[in-house]
Structure formats: structure tokens, C-alpha cells
Assembly symmetry: C2
Homo-oligomer: 581 residues x 2
């Protein structure tokens, strides 16, 4: 037996008990005649004591030879501490060590195993197993596991069945790039790893499973942007005999359950806005509504003042930043610099201040008299002391630019408290989006999403205008889930593949099994998938998902700890009938 | 709203309520003036009624045009049935249909969607989504999901943390063949899919996670034997600061919890036998102990009787089959035929009968007089009416052959009731086994298993004799789990790789990260992995795992439903820098 207790559980209640503990040496304080050791494990830290009077010379010597991260086992008596540490649960006691065994030695670790470490990102990834010893990292992984458990229990209570769908499936050209797996037994053929279990969950609905979920790994071979992983985890769900409203209610239930379990706060009913409204109000289909600064469109108010930039713009739009009229020239210049950054890409920014005395001034006083400015301020509902920021340009671009500015100000003004949760539903997404590059429509959600019944006629008249019963669950400016009501008849699915530019043959070869399944009594169904990595990060008040993944890959898709991917042997290649090019 | 209730919940309590139901048409009984429809969903079946007197002509006509597996929605009133069906929960009521909507039509399915179907295996695999509509299949998937939930809750209660380990890892030559995944971003390099998360769970222990589990997909590119799948699911666990005894107790707890939840039966403490004892008593390291017929070795008792076959045999060994002395010549011949089958491979079988009157006779009366036979019978502890069956040959072969015969008799005599659960631990497995083909030692469990401390000296003297603290959990003749105490220091791990014929370079290239990790304070640790597919099947009283997998692959590793694997495009190959050979 390596331990009678963990390092997190002993207290005054255990006084005078003889206990056995195991763990890692966190720190050693050697005062010569007395030695204190902090012994650490997953559960906490317990202080060990050796002193000249009560410990043997041999024991003292052994303790002096210990190093950080040595794995030791001690036996000793629980005694009361002279100077207590109220910060930790075991802070009232210490262990007077009677025997000490080194279970394993440790070299000096490449970075300190402390809450605040001196190790850089790369080093910590290479020695991820040491990084995981640090409390903040371990706690994140434990948090993730707890959320998974809560999700499973909630959905099971709602009659959802967790079904494991296959990982070795079929490559399809739609969506992102697939990872593929050469088949040895089927020469020249490949499996693909799923980007999502989409078709399988639909087949489960056709199979009468009624309510399916799965917390499941998915894969995308995309060039990795920061904080994207080639393998990621999804809470994948599908329901039969439901309408959009049913899905929204159930998953609003799940999300508010998780938020209230984590934060103790009740979210109330989630706001719902349409995609169009989200773009108009926030320039963004995943708005952070922890703060206001809603967009105000000003084409009417600004036109005809000889200010060419506004007059010629497709859209003039601004936000009102409360209580910021006292911003200095330098502060405003910094905002102008921000919007001019390549990743935002604007050419500039107009400001109007409603001063404390109620007067209005601006960076365009040359074109706008006080009356015109006051009218604009009125449109903004600006109060004395507010700062208005206005941008202009083509509709899509200026919205994206102003949205970036809005988020920047949200950050600067500390309006994005990670402990606050502001969920909402964004509804009525367009069914299709036109891709300039490939000159064809792409499915905005995926090719299995049904058009809104009232928009079906648009599929012939103006496909780009057709909306879908597609919905996103947005939390604190992040899309944490998305889904849709699905097509469940063969004709509509064929029509959709046509619109997406599939030939009949391709559609048949890729999705024939699904269209075939639609012939045998497919029920109406709908579903949703939540990005589990991101959901967990946000619920824990963070935005970087990498910390919540036990063994993440870097931006080149490499696991630097195990050094994967790597070369394989010629025999392996030959067995797979493959050659490197 | 597609339904107010499911098809499994209405009863007399709902009398006269107006309800909306949706589901599949299971059967239609059309008596002309009255039509009954069984409406099915996941939750049950509800009987719908239409009759000439109370239903409109239009409605009657619509109902007459329905076919099996049509998806319909009806509104109607709950009424009491005239002839009740006590077999189903909704058997007291029926729905007098007021409106009927066809949500989707169905072609005639390729096999009947009934508990007993007319569809063959292959057809049911191709239309797996229809097979899943059948109660027995759906129930198996639901059973699986419930067991997973119970496992998760049990282990979480025991402080285990579920951690997701990566799917895109590194190919290693040890063990079975890996599936590999070419990396586009790292040209010429490959990921591998994990055969198990072995090294990652060990790194989690080094990382101080203390207790890890995961229900996780694993992958093996092996030629598929019946009932083997290229992707399978494992309950994977690892614990730090534990000895073998801790692991046995915790997972005995899990297994007996599951058995008692399923069967209501308490298992009591699991028997434990050593590998050696299992081979001696049952000729098998995963003995089915629902019945006795333990092996009795008879070299002493049979030698010197001029019966050459026995005299020359390394091992003479038999089983006593209770109450089977009345077996006819024909029945015994059938057993002889059985052991002569190529998959058993024996040359014959000797029998001895202890007759009802206590006299003893045999197929070798020529060599053995009644006294000798009686002595043998005594060794068997045979009672009047028992049949003894004896085989001989080289130790390993004859044990395997007699084991096959023992299992065959267990089946024939109905001693293997799938509702009985007989778990046991098999302990002290050999560390290594000699492989004639490659002329080197292979790890019996895996290369990370530690030798028993008392056997460490054998690694130099006689490696094949060294035993490990490796253990298998066996249930009803199936290995449902296996694990071991792990090596946790670099020197021992290096030594093990040496013994397994790894060059220093290969060991470093493949497992350098693990041996490196051992330098930084690796704790003692041990673990176990349970085959989830098989565990679920056995707990449900079955032995074929395929039924418990939603979308299984066939013996060529193909998913015949989606037709995977398949060819990929030349562009995909090019992006991966690959050529077909």
C-alpha cells in the first residue's frame, strides 16, 4: 500500500494518527536542524517535518538529499503545526516523518512546477506531462471531465442515447479537407476520419433512435489557425419528430444548466435574434452581448453634407461608447491605429463627442454643424459624456470592421468579464452562400440543412436569399454550437446537391446511402453540435482551447511531445500499396 | 409540434384526452369498415383506430393507402380498447384518429422490421438504419449506452478523471499493425491511430493525474477474424501509487456493480487463480467457470500399462463429465469427431464410464484392468453415472484440445447459461513469450509491464520464466479486461526494450518521450483496459459483439452501408504527396 491518505485530506481530526503518504516533493526548506517538505499530489499538499531532536540522523540525511519532483513515500505521525496555513485544507497539521522511501528520483525539471511557471509555451508542450502536474493545467482537465459528465447526465435524463458512430468512414469532397486512412485490406482505397458524425446521426434518426447524442472526436485537415486543432471534440446531437423550437428549448436547457452549475447564476431566457439582425446590430453572427454598443446606421443623417467619404459609402454606421467623451487625442489615435491594422483593414474612423456640458464636437466639424451633429447624437441616444465612433464603406466590410472595433473597446473597457455569461440564439441563417473563388453556392451550415418551408420557392428564384431553420448558440462572442432542421426527403436532398454543384453521379457516389435511406420512411429531424473544447474553455472563463486539451498539437499539427507525425517504414508503405511522391 | 406523447406512454389514465402522435406504421389491419394501425416509435407501439361510423370517408381512404414504415402523424382521442393487449404498456387503450398526416412515405423495406426478421446478415448490414429500427437491435444499443453511463458514474465516484487522449499519434512497430494517416502539412510523415492510449495514460500518471479513465475508440489493422472489428472501444484506466491489489479491488468493484445492476445478482468475491493454474485446470487462460470439469492429470495413473499413446505422451489429462455415463456410442463418437476437427486437431479421445452400479468400463479395457480404471476414476472423484474423457499429447497442445472439448460439453449440457455470471481474476502471467517465427521474445501483455520484483533476476537467467504482475479479468470464458503493474524507471524500461530486440536507436525513436518522462519523477503506477464491446455483449447475455456496435464493419473491414473505404481523388493523393503503388 503506497498511501493511507492523499495529500489533501488530513486535518486536526487526524491528530496523532500514524499515516502513510506518497507524492512529489514540491519544496524543501532546510533550516539545518529542521527540514520541512511540501509533499504534493493531485489532491493537495501536506507539510512534512523532520527535526534533529525527534528524527534519526539517517533520516535527516536522506531528507537533505531529496530534490524537487522526487517521488517519495513517508510514514509518520499527524501533529499540530506551530504556524498554521489557513490557505490550504491541510494547513493546521504536519507530519512528523518516521520513515522515508524514495520511490523515484527526478532530474531538475526544465521548468518550475508551480502555478506560475517560468516555462515557455513550447517547452511546456514538449514536456506536457510535467505541465499537467501544475495545478492550473490539471484543474482545467478535471473541469473538462466534470462538464462532460454533467452534459451526459443532463442529456441522458432527457432520454438521449449515446451512440458511438464509426471513426473510419468515407471521404467526401464537401466541407473541409478530410484526413484519410489507407486501407491495407482494400488496396488503393481509403477511409476518412469524420469531420462530424453528420450522416450517421441522420441515419440513426431514420433508424428510429429518436434522440441521439455523443461526445465525440472529429477531425479536419485544415491549415491551422491559432487555437485550432486537427482533432477536436464535439457534443453531437440529433432528434427526430422535432421542430426548431424543440431543439432550441432542449439545448437552452442544457446550456443554462451548465452555466448555473458553474457560476451559480441563472441566465433567464436566452435572447434570440436573426442572422440579419445580428449582422446589422453587431456586424457579427456571434455577437458578444455582455455589453451594448449596438450599431447605429447613419446614412440618412450624414448624407448631403459634402463629406464625400460618407456620401459615397454603401453604409455609414457607428457605435456609442458610453462615458468616453473624455478620451484624449492619443487614445482616439490609438483606436484609429487599431482599425487601420491589416487584420481590420479600415481606412479611418470619425468621432463625435457629446461633452459633459451637452455640446457636441467631432473630427468632422468642417462638414457637420452642431445641429447636424446633435441630430446624429440623438440617433445614437448619446448622453452627455459619450463618445461616438463612426465608420463607412461597403456593407459587409464596414460591419466587420466596426465589429472588431466594438470588441476591442469591450476589452479595453473591461466589459467582457469572463465570469459573466451572455448566451443567445442566432436564427434564420441563409441556406447558401456564394463563393467567389469556386463560383458556386456553398452550404452555409451543411448540405443537409433544409430551407425554411416559406423560402423553398426561392431555391429556383434566388437561392442566395433562401433562409434555413439553422441556428447558432452563441456565448460571450463565441459560437459554441450550431445546428439546423434537416432535409428528410430524397427529392429535396437531390435538389440541394444540384444547387451545390454536385453531378448526379457524385451525389450518388458520395451520399447515395443517405438518399437511399430517405426512401424508407425518414422522420422529420433536426440537430445541433456544440464545440466541446471551446464550450469548456468559455465556461471556465477562458478563450484558449489548447489549455483544455490534455495533449494538444501545435500550429503545424505536430505533437511535439511524442514527435508525431513521423516517418513510417518501407514495409508499412508497401503493405498499404503506397509510395511517397 | 410533432407529438404530444410518445407511443409508449398512453394508458387508461389518458382516457378521452386528445393527443398527437407520430411514428412509423408497423402494421395495418384493414377489416373494411374498421382499420387498426400499430404506430411505432422508440418508446413503444400505440394502436390507432379508424372506423366507418366515426371517421370521415377521406380519412378511411387515406388510411387504406398507407404502407408499412410510412411515417405519419395523427391526432385523435384516447379511448378504451374492447380487446385489450396485456403484453404492452399501451395495451388498454387505442386512439380514435381524427386527423392523419403522412410525414414521409416508405418503399417496401428490403426485410421486415420485426423482432424476428427475414433479412440475412448482409442485407441487414447494408440497410443498417432499418435494422436499427428493430426492437432487439435498438435495445442492444440502448443497453450499451446505459452500461457506458454506469461505468462513467462508478469510476467518477471513485475519483477517476476522464481525459481524452489524442487519436492522431505515432506509429510504433510493437503490437498489432497500425492504421496510419498521412500528414499533408508534414510531407512524407504519418500519424497512427492508437491501438490503445497506453503511453498517454502512463504520461498522465507521470503528470500526477492519479486516476485516469476513458471510454475510447482504439484501432487495429489486423486481418479480421469473425467478430473482430478494426475499430473497437475500450474502458481504459490507469492509477498511480497503487499495487496490483488496489487495481484488482477497484475493478472487481466495478464489474460486480455492473453485474448486480444488470442481473440483480451478487457475485461475491471473485476467485483468483494464476495463469499457470488456469492452464493446468482448464487448459485456457480465460476459463469459463460457470461449470466444473476441471482437468485431472493422469500421467502417474496411466503409465506402464503398455498403452503407448499414454506412455509416450508428455501429458495425459482428462475431465469428468457428471451424469453422462449413459452417453451412447453415437454420442461419444460425435465427441471424438469434434476433437478431430482441424480447429481442435486432436487424434482421438479415451473414455471411461463409471456405471450406475459402480462398475468401471472404458474404451481402453485392453490395457487397463478394472482396478486401474477404478484408481483413475478415484483420481477424477467420479461418482456412479459419470463419464471421464481423457486426451494425451504435448502439454500445450493437449491442454488446448481438452479445453475445446470442455467448452463444447459445457455448451451441449447447457452449463453456460448466459444469465449466470462467473467472473474471475487470472494472475501472474508470464512477462514474455517466445515467438518461434521471429525468434525473439514478445511482451505477453505489452512492453511497459513490470516483472514481478522477485522474478527480476530471471530477466538475465531465464527471461521466459519471469512472471509479471499482470492480470486478466475473465467473465464467462471471455477475457473482458487485462492490465498490469507498469515499469516506472528508465533503466528497467531500457532493459525491457533490449529483451524485446529493440536497438537502442529504435527504442529511443519510438519511446524516447516515455523514457525521458521517467527521468522526472515517475510514480509507481498500474492500469487495466476492458474491452467495452465484449463486456456489453456478455453482460447482455450474448457473445457476438457486432450487434452492440451501431455501424459495424464486415470481415473485410468494409462498411457496406456507406461503402467505405473508397477511392479518393488524385488531388487528395497529390496534396498528401502520395502515389498508389
Amino acid at each position: 500500500m503506497f498511501r493511507s491518505h492523499t495529500n489533501g485530506e488530513l486535518s486536526l481530526k487526524n491528530l496523532n494518527e500514524t499515516v502513510t503518504l506518497s507524492g512529489w516533493v514540491q519544496t524543501i526548506r532546510d533550516k539545518g536542524f529542521m527540514i520541512w517538505i511540501d509533499l504534493r499530489d493531485r489532491y493537495g499538499v501536506t507539510q512534512l517535518l523532520l527535526d534533529e531532536e525527534r528524527s534519526t540522523e539517517e533520516l535527516m540525511k536522506a531528507a537533505k538529499n531529496l530534490g524537487r519532483e522526487f517521488v517519495i513515500q513517508v510514514e509518520g505521525k499527524v501533529i499540530e503545526r506551530t504556524s498554521k496555513n489557513p490557505k490550504i485544507p491541510t494547513g493546521d497539521i504536519e507530519i512528523l516523518v518516521e520513515t522515508l522511501t524514495i520511490l523515484n528520483e527526478s532530474q531538475l525539471p526544465p521548468f518550475t512546477i508551480e502555478d506560475e511557471t517560468d516555462g515557455g509555451e513550447e517547452l511546456r508542450m514538449k514536456y506536457r506531462y510535467l505541465d499537467i502536474r501544475r495545478n492550473p493545467v490539471r484543474e482545467k482537465l478535471i473541469f473538462r471531465s466534470k462538464i462532460a459528465q454533467k452534459v451526459r447526465n443532463y442529456l441522458s435524463d432527457q432520454n438521449f442515447i449515446e451512440v458511438e458512430t464509426p471513426v473510419l468512414i468515407k471521404s467526401t469532397p464537401e466541407g473541409a479537407r478530410d484526413f484519410v486512412v489507407p486501407s491495407r485490406m482494400n488496396e488503393g482505397q481509403f477511409y476518412a476520419l469524420p469531420q462530424s458524425p453528420q450522416t450517421f446521426k441522420q441515419l440513426l434518426m431514420i433508424g428510429g433512435m429518436d434522440r441521439y447524442f455523443q461526445i465525440v472526436k472529429c477531425f479536419r485537415d485544415e491549415d491551422l489557425r491559432a487555437d485550432r486543432q486537427p482533432e477536436f471534440t464535439q457534443i453531437d446531437c440529433e432528434l427526430a419528430f422535432v421542430e426548431q423550437e424543440d431543439v432550441l428549448q432542449i439545448f437552452e436547457g442544457l446550456a443554462s444548466h451548465l452555466i448555473s452549475e458553474i457560476s451559480g447564476k441563472e441566465t433567464g431566457k436566452f435572447p434570440r435574434i436573426t442572422y440579419e439582425e445580428a449582422m446589422q446590430k453587431y456586424g457579427n453572427d456571434k455577437p458578444d452581448i455582455r455589453f451594448g454598443m449596438e450599431f447605429v446606421e447613419l446614412n440618412e443623417e450624414t448624407k448631403g453634407k459634402d463629406f464625400k467619404i460618407f456620401d459615397e459609402a454603401e453604409l455609414v454606421v457607428g457605435i456609442n461608447v458610453e462615458n468616453c467623451a473624455e478620451y484624449t487625442r492619443k487614445q482616439i489615435d490609438a483606436l484609429v491605429d487599431f482599425v487601420k491594422k491589416p487584420q481590420v483593414g479600415a481606412s479611418g474612423l470619425i468621432w463625435i463627442k457629446k461633452q459633459a456640458d451637452g455640446s457636441v464636437t467631432s473630427s468632422v466639424n468642417k462638414f457637420f454643424d452642431e445641429e447636424s451633429l446633435s441630430k446624429i447624437a440623438e440617433k445614437f441616444n448619446a448622453k452627455a459624456g459619450d463618445l461616438m465612433l463612426i465608420m463607412s464603406g461597403t456593407e459587409n466590410k464596414v460591419r466587420a470592421q466596426l465589429s472588431a472595433l466594438r470588441m476591442e473597446l469591450g476589452n479595453q473597457l473591461n466589459l467582457r468579464n469572463p465570469k459573466d455569461f451572455a448566451p443567445l440564439w442566432v436564427l434564420d441563417f441563409p441556406l447558401l452562400e456564394w463563393d467567389e473563388e469556386t463560383e458556386r453556392y456553398h452550404a452555409m451550415h451543411h448540405p443537409f440543412t433544409a430551407p425554411k418551408p416559406e423560402d423553398e420557392h426561392l431555391l429556383t428564384e434566388n437561392p442566395g436569399k433562401a433562409r434555413a431553420n439553422a441556428y447558432d448558440l452563441v456565448l460571450n462572442g463565441n459560437e459554441i454550437g450550431g445546428g439546423s432542421v434537416r432535409i428528410f426527403n430524397k427529392e429535396m436532398q437531390s435538389r440541394m446537391f444540384d444547387l451545390l454543384g454536385f453531378s448526379k453521379e457524385d451525389a450518388e457516389a458520395q451520399f447515395g446511402f443517405l438518399m437511399n435511406a430517405f426512401k424508407y420512411g425518414a422522420p422529420p429531424h433536426a440537430g445541433i453540435a456544440l464545440g466541446f473544447d471551446r464550450l469548456v474553455a468559455i465556461l471556465d472563463g477562458n478563450e484558449t482551447i489548447r489549455d483544455y486539451i490534455a495533449f494538444p498539437k501545435n500550429n503545424s499539427g505536430r505533437d511535439v511531445m511524442i514527435d508525431a507525425p513521423s516517418k513510417i517504414s518501407d514495409e508499412q508503405l508497401e503493405e498499404l500499396s503506397l509510395k511517397l511522391n
